[in-house]
């Protein structure tokens, strides 16, 4: 790669002006725009998370102490009321159990100021929007659309994705979906949980139809990305790049695209039916009209379980890349990792019933789904062991992307293993819909996908922006997020197994019997703030690099995949000459790349790359 003076202008400076961004066909710019949108949604979702955690710490801090401002028992009864009435009154006022103590006016329907941060209606809207925003806006498009869009054509040695205009349409649909969600936020919110379970979603008075249409549009954005990636991987691989010369991140994006294409349409029809239920009274899911609510759960989870594999597979792809590169060692068991991605994608469609063990599903179906659920855990185990085998006898440098990869191993380890508790029938009966489930999916989604997203973001940051970030700040952010995550969600495992149900606005009524709920919830809230701090550090580190980061070399980490064989940031056409691979090329053969202290980069051309 000759860095001749007349190096072509990079994609960031190739065109100027806002229109060159909004109507760009360049996959790299679309990736960057997705990244900005997803980061904003992540901040919004994160703020909701902090609101929930702050709210849930208050019952612990104020239970059992004499409340500061003791509001006189509401409407201290006059002559007629015997203490009985006062007690009933306190009970009717809902909230704090102990009579004599100022009854919390945090009951639902009264307008008196809540003693807690949020009233029940507000709390239900906050946790619902936290779920919906984080899932539909952040984590489903997350790695595939932001990092995948940028990196996939580069990794394949292609000039662009197969259908650039479809790619732009996908981003525009994502923006429209986000606008729908904002409309929901500002016009009364949504309080059905991100799961839209009927008949609650068809009888509540919140903005279900707007949210359903928003998610429907985001579904199409996801389908378009899926179509694009499948066509790109099939048709636009560099000359000489067979299927087994593709990087593992491309394999994981391909498997993810297959899920996106096969599962998302079912979510589309489900959401349309919920909207039709509310607008026309269609009656397929509404028991009063002869419908069956459990049928809705089948429709919903047929998409939503494969959706969790849409989230985790790209994360695994990023980890495969990072661990091999930063251990300076060929990936161990390339084909097994590649095929396990595809296996997870296909097996993921057989298991949706394990979300419904206690929902009135029949025992036979429960047995079948539980058995199939365990088949999905095997490919994940294979991947983890292969990553460890890759590190064996490597030369491991703990740079920021590697910190995130190892944090992923730790956190996904816990997340994956706690899935065993929820897959087994007799333990799931106790643990379902408790904080154990909340902790499980946060470990897998937050600890798995989001940590891998940050790892990938740092890994390809030099290629995207042409700037190197500061290592110490990067590692500090990774450490803070790692500790914060564990402090937030490990206590929730104990909360859940000891019987605290999820989506609870207030657990003070349980504190008499379970005083430990107080301590655990406060720990979890502390963890949430630590994680929030971690994110602040990450933002500072990356923003700092944009202005004062040193210019990034073409190959700062010394990887052999094609995206590192072009300049950072790459030109608009990605490669000066389309790369041609010979038979001896191997994306993970790193021995031909030497670290050069002066330039702080890896020089040399990988074996087999003309």
């Amino acid at each position: 790669m000759d860095h001749s003076s007349s190096a072509p202008v990079d994609y960031l400076h190739a065109d100027r002006g806002i229109r060159s961004w909004i109507f760009t066909l360049d996959h790299k710019r679309i990736g960057v725009m997705y990244l900005v949108g997803i980061a904003a949604s992540l901040v919004l979702g994160g703020l909701f998370a902090l609101a929930i955690r702050t709210h849930l710490a208050i019952p612990a801090l104020t239970h059992g102490t004499t409340p500061a401002a003791s509001v006189p028992a509401v409407g201290e009864p006059a002559a007629v009321a015997a203490p009985e009435a006062a007690a009933v009154q306190a009970d009717a006022a809902a909230g704090l159990a102990a009579e004599g103590q100022a009854p919390t006016a945090a009951s639902t329907l009264q307008e008196t100021p809540p003693r807690y941060l949020l009233t029940p209606r507000q709390y239900n809207r906050v946790f619902t929007l936290h779920g919906a925003i984080m899932i539909f806006l952040v984590i489903i498009p997350g790695i595939p659309a932001a990092l995948g869009n940028f990196v996939l054509p580069l990794m394949l040695g292609a000039k662009d994705v197969a259908f650039p205009r479809l790619n732009l349409a996908s981003f525009h649909l994502w923006v429209i979906g986000a606008v729908f969600f904002l409309a929901v936020l500002f016009t009364g919110g949504l309080d059905t949980g991100w799961t839209f379970y009927t008949p609650y979603s068809t009888t509540t008075d919140t903005r279900v139809v707007t949210a359903a249409l928003g998610a429907f549009i985001l579904g199409f954005s996801s389908i378009f990305t899926g179509i694009n990636f499948i066509a790109t991987v099939h048709m636009l691989r560099a000359r000489g790049m067979s299927w087994f010369k593709m990087p593992l991140f491309v394999w994981s994006l391909y498997a993810t695209a297959v899920i996106q294409v096969l599962a998302t349409p079912v979510l589309g029809i489900t959401l349309l039916l919920v909207a039709a239920e509310r607008i026309f009274g269609l009656g397929i899911f509404d028991p009063k009209l002869g419908g069956d609510p459990v049928l809705f759960q089948h429709f919903f989870w047929f998409y939503s379980h494969p959706a969790v594999y849409i989230m985790i597979l790209p994360g695994m792809g990023v980890v495969s890349e990072s661990i091999s590169t930063f251990s300076r060692k060929h990936i161990f068991g390339y084909r097994f990792i590649a095929f396990s991605s595809v296996a997870i994608a296909l097996l993921g469609f057989l298991v949706w019933g394990h979300h419904m063990f206690t929902s009135g599903q029949s025992r036979l179906a429960g047995m079948i789904f539980s058995a199939l659920t365990f088949s999905v855990s095997i490919p994940s185990a294979i991947k983890v062991f292969n990553w460890l085998a890759t590190m064996y006898k490597g030369s491991i440098s703990l740079q920021t992307p590697m910190c995130y990869a190892l944090a992923f191993l730790f956190l996904f380890g816990i997340g994956g293993l706690t899935g065993l508790f929820l897959g087994a029938l007799s333990t799931d009966v106790h643990l379902h819909d408790t904080y154990f489930v909340v902790a499980h999916f946060h470990y897998v989604m937050f600890g798995g996908t989001l940590v891998a997203f940050l790892g990938g973001l740092h890994y390809w940051w030099p290629k995207m922006t042409g700037k190197m970030f500061d290592e110490t700040l990067g590692r500090l952010g990774a450490l803070a997020i790692f500790l914060g995550l564990n402090l937030t969600f490990f206590p929730q495992f104990v909360l859940g197994s000891r019987g605290m149900p999820r989506r609870y606005f207030d657990y003070s009524l349980l504190l008499d019997r379970h005083p430990e709920f107080a301590g655990l919830n406060v720990l979890s809230t502390a963890g949430a703030f630590l994680t929030g701090l971690g994110f602040v550090i990450v933002v500072i580190c990356l923003a700092h690099s944009l202005w004062r980061g040193r210019p990034a070399p073409a190959n700062p980490w010394g990887a052999a995949t094609l995206e590192w064989q072009t300049s950072s940031p790459p030109p608009k056409e990605n490669f000066l000459r389309p790369p041609v691979l010979s038979e001896s090329y191997d994306p993970y053969y790193l021995d031909d790349l030497e670290y050069d202290d002066k330039t702080g980069a890896y020089a040399g051309v990988p074996l087999g790359l003309a």
């Binding site: 059992g64 004499t66 003791s70 409407g75 009985e84 007690a87 306190a90 009970d91 009717a92 704090l96 159990a97 102990a98 009579e99 329907l109 029940p120 239900n124 379970y197 008949p199 028991p287 609510p293 300076r328 161990f332 068991g333 429960g366 539980s370 095997i378 185990a381 294979i382 062991f385 460890l388 085998a389 006898k393 491991i396 440098s397 191993l409 293993l417 065993l420 508790f421 897959g423 087994a424 029938l425 007799s426 333990t427 799931d428 009966v429 106790h430 379902h432 197994s497 000891r498 019987g499 149900p501 999820r502 989506r503 609870y504 349980l510 008499d512 019997r513 005083p515 430990e516 021995d591």
Partner: protein, 416 residues
């Protein structure tokens, strides 16, 4: 609204074992007399409520709670200090609980082993093969070994087959009720539980015998709820338009929390009830007494119990404050303006009609959210409720007594 049986119920650490013997007897005896003899029940409850109401706010009824309360600003009692049950699981109290506990700890130890394996290997490799001058490149090592791959595929497969089998066996036990089980019908509605006993008596707490398995046949009146009794490791959704069933056989007398586990709206977190497991032989006596509270109590007191048990308390207050529905205080005999602009005096017929078909006349400014009680309350129950409402209006308090006493309902009512 937090639903409590009555103000005087003792709540103490869920494990019986923790209480000194004396205190346990006292709590239990009180527990049974409270429910047992309803004749004095109301007075006893009134008295104990008064005593509790005057009690110092910090101290709850039961001493055990006080001990823990004094130990810290708030109850930081981490599970380790928690008596009964184990670190992870609350105290088991049903015959099928051991299936869950056994498998939970089996999976826990398997997971702990593999997790430790991963973390130890990761840290060892990290330290042993950290990049340093003498080790700027990786050693030559195979990048593929089918034997190893087969090994760490085969081992997990065997483990998960075992876990599935254990889970399935326990599950079938939990979901197959023995034929002689004592059947109780459970109805859930937005933020209240109703337990209908074979005698037709409806209570908002689940009283069960200890010497027989109990089968719950459940459905919901509005949205999906989920009956969750952590101590029995039992959970089953209540789906509207359909019956779901589950069963348990309690092993120890005492009181256990019953929670709603499926999100059902604003008061999902206070849709609580108590599972009261009676001493052998005490259950039948309790049920017989409770079933005909209508006969034993004066209409006004029966009306008050109906007010609490049938869900009126949820939305209608007794002291004039506005809630979902209008307050009952001074409601009787006063003119009422309806949403459609017409007005009428709130007489007996209006009250009866509003109970049976609430949507017929909606008071102005209130949401039409009241569920119809058509077919749920029979004639003398409605009369009792109306008597109770009358007793709350100062102007007409005296009228409440005579008419209701006239038609003493002889037989225990059969309708739920």
């Amino acid at each position: 609204m937090r639903r409590r049986l009555a103000t005087d119920r003792y709540s103490y650490s869920h494990g019986q074992g923790t209480l000194p013997a004396a205190m346990k007897r006292e709590a239990l005896s009180h527990n049974d007399t409270r429910g047992g003899d309803t004749r004095g029940g109301a007075d006893r409850r009134a008295a104990s409520a008064a005593q509790a109401a005057r009690a110092v706010p910090a101290s709850r009824g039961s001493e055990a709670c006080d001990l823990r309360r004094q130990t810290g600003l708030f109850a930081w009692g981490l599970p380790l200090a928690q008596a009964g049950g184990s670190f992870w699981l609350p105290d088991p109290a049903s015959t099928t609980a051991h299936y869950t506990d056994y498998l939970f700890y089996a999976i826990f130890y398997i997971s702990a082993f593999f997790f430790a394996l991963i973390v130890v290997l990761m840290t060892v490799f990290l330290i042993l093969y950290r990049r340093r001058d003498s080790r700027s490149k990786a050693d030559k090592a195979p990048s593929h070994s089918t034997v190893l791959e087969l090994f760490w595929t085969f081992v997990p497969v065997c483990i998960v087959i075992y876990i599935f089998a254990a889970g399935f066996i326990g599950y079938m036990e939990m979901r197959t009720a023995p034929p002689d089980a004592y059947e109780i019908r459970v109805t859930g509605q937005k933020w209240k539980w109703f337990f209908t006993y074979p005698t037709g008596y409806v209570d908002e707490n689940l009283h069960v015998p200890i010497d027989r398995p109990v089968r719950l046949v459940m459905t919901s009146r509005d949205v999906i709820h989920s009956l969750f009794i952590p101590a029995f490791r039992l959970k089953m959704d209540l789906v509207p338009g359909r019956y779901t069933s589950t069963w348990f056989h309690a092993v120890r007398p005492g009181e256990y929390p019953l929670l709603c586990a499926e999100y059902c709206g604003d008061n999902h977190s206070s849709m609580l009830a108590e599972v009261v497991v009676h001493e052998p032989g005490r259950f039948e006596k309790w049920l017989e007494e409770a079933s005909n509270f209508m006969k034993n109590l004066s209409p006004v007191e029966a009306g008050r119990i109906l007010y609490q048990r049938q869900g009126c308390a949820q939305c209608h207050s007794l002291d004039g404050t506005r809630k979902v529905g209008p307050s009952f205080k001074n409601a009787y005999g006063e003119p009422v303006r309806f949403a459609d602009g017409t007005t009428a005096v709130a007489d007996e017929n209006y009250l009866r009609e509003s109970i049976l078909v609430p949507d017929a006349k909606i008071v102005a400014g209130y949401p039409p959210q009241m569920p119809p009680y058509q077919g749920l309350l029979d004639e003398d129950k409605i009369a009792a409720l109306i008597a109770f409402i009358k007793s709350l209006s100062d102007a007409h308090a005296d009228e409440a007594t005579p008419p209701a006493d006239a038609d003493e309902a002889p037989a225990p009512d059969a309708s739920p």
